[in-house]
């Protein structure tokens, strides 16, 4: 039998057992980043493929939300900071080794890109919109002309942003649950799937919804595969990793994880979407909302659970 006790100091409320420094702000930040990345990716890729007329909501409408999602996400990051007045120092330093640092920079680059992108569609979506100044009108026509040029970097940055939401966590080898390279792709796929769900909710075009529904089913399957892969990888790992996996396989996160994330957030909406493709009448927003909520809860659980996995004690 082995027992480890704190004789002094640590068994005090401010430090142990809750060293958890990341609370609700970080999961929301990661969630919004993922949705935004997904929308920009779909918008960019369908533009590059020349399908922008067929996929109106995906390419033109949904991206209008992205600047708001990103700014709100950055605001969440700001709320997480404990030394808020020093926030600007994130942008006076470039430290490529720090995921927190380069993530903040990726957001700083992709937010203006997303603003330019949506600006080029505003008038198409809201015909009554008037840019008022001539210079803005010239700028708009310039943006419209070079859309394809923006689409490429935007799509690439969207993928980076999506992966980053996972890498922010996976870069910490002190937290065995996070320290796996599968987290980057997993968060990317999950972000894309939530984005697809949001687009399905917004779209009124049956054909477009059908295409996004198919994509979403595929993404959900990949996500499920990644989750199995993640847990299996842990079980084949070191003691610290096995302990991390056991939080989900019998431990205290088992029930919420399998109920809200795996079943209600992935399997059930996928089944509903399949039914819908087969021609059954399913209200579109039910699977979509489930996927979105599942994605959000998934991030909450991973952030929370990761912080209690450690090497010592």
């Amino acid at each position: 039998m082995r027992e480890e006790l704190f004789v002094s100091g640590r068994n005090i409320p401010n430090i142990d057992p809750y060293l958890n420094i990341w609370h609700w702000q970080i999961p929301i930040y990661l969630f919004l980043g993922g949705v935004a990345a997904g929308i920009l990716f779909f918008s960019g890729i369908f533009t590059i493929l020349g399908k922008d007329h067929k996929m109106r909501t995906t390419v033109k409408v949904a991206p209008l939300l992205v600047p708001f999602l990103l700014v709100f996400g950055l605001f969440m990051l700001f709320l997480d900071l404990k030394h808020k007045l020093y926030f600007w120092q994130l942008y006076t330093t470039i430290r490529l080794e720090s995921p927190m640092g380069w993530g903040a920079w990726v957001l700083m680059i992709i937010t203006p890109i997303s603003i330019l992108w949506s600006a080029s569609y505003v008038r198409e979506i809201f015909p009554g919109w008037d840019w008022k100044f001539d210079i803005l009108k010239t700028f708009e026509s310039w943006l419209i002309k070079y859309r394809l040029w923006i689409a490429w970097p935007m799509t690439i940055y969207a993928v980076i942003l999506g992966i980053y939401t996972g890498i922010l966590l996976s870069a910490f080898n002190a937290r065995p649950l996070w320290n796996t390279s599968i987290l980057g792709p997993l968060f990317l796929v999950s972000g894309m799937s939530t984005a697809a769900a949001l687009i399905i909710m917004l779209s009124k075009d049956h054909k477009e919804r059908k295409i996004m529904g198919r994509i979403d089913i595929l993404l959900i399957l990949i996500e499920l595969f990644f989750i199995v892969h993640l847990l299996m990888g842990f079980l084949a790992g070191s003691e610290a990793q096995i302990n991390a996996a056991s939080l989900f396989l019998g431990g205290k996160f088992t029930a919420p994880f399998f109920t809200f994330v795996v079943f209600l957030g992935l399997i059930f909406p996928a089944i509903l979407e399949i039914f819908e493709l087969k021609g059954f009448k399913v209200p579109v927003y039910i699977p979509a909302i489930l996927v979105l909520l599942g994605g959000l809860i998934f991030r909450f659980i991973i952030v929370e659970a990761g912080q209690i996995t450690r090497f010592l004690y």
Partner: protein, 177 residues
């Protein structure tokens, strides 16, 4: 130069003097600490062994906290002492997540704080407060590169271990066992 510490787990009586000395010396706010004492009990009665360890930041040579800091607030000082520059710290918490020893905490004033090896005392040629106050003199602080230093001698003659070496951080606190 490479500062390190050797702590004799066989001499330590777990009095926590080091903890109080540190809190006093460094004005650690009430309810927080930069060092702490752990008691590890192994085995079943009557074959039990107890190890007492005074723990703190390991001033790792390959420190994830310095690597992940977005502003460079967490940095290395001379002799490998890992320090947080308060006015550069934005309190993002990345370093707290990155430390396998949970040696950092968020100071009520917003920045992140942790053991400094009492760098202000070391620069004046003194030992860190915890080392100088220890009633059993179970801690040795010094330059690991200096072959004549006491700490190097102790480490040459005794068996020692470091904590969670598998985390790959190259900790610089050694526990004599």
């Amino acid at each position: 130069m490479r500062y390190g510490m050797a702590i004799d787990t066989r001499k330590c009586v777990g009095c926590s003097d080091c903890v109080v000395a540190c809190q006093t010396e460094n004005n650690v706010p009430l309810g927080f600490c930069r060092d702490w004492v752990v008691e590890v009990v192994d085995g079943t009665y009557p074959n039990v062994s107890i190890e007492l360890r005074s723990e703190r930041c390991n001033h790792c040579a390959n420190s994830p906290c310095v690597r992940c800091c977005p502003t460079g607030a967490s940095h290395f000082e001379d002799g490998g002492i890992v320090l947080v520059e308060h006015s550069k710290c934005i309190g993002c918490g990345a370093c707290i997540e990155a430390c396998p020893y949970d040696a950092r905490y968020s100071h009520p004033d917003g920045y992140v704080d942790k053991c400094t090896f009492c760098i202000h005392r070391v620069r004046e040629g003194n030992n860190p407060a915890c080392v100088s106050v220890c009633p059993t003199s179970c801690m040795y602080f010094g330059d690991l590169d200096d072959q004549n230093s006491k700490i190097v001698n102790v480490l040459k003659n005794r068996k020692f271990k470091s904590l969670a070496p598998e985390a790959g951080t190259k900790p610089q606190i050694f526990y004599l066992v």
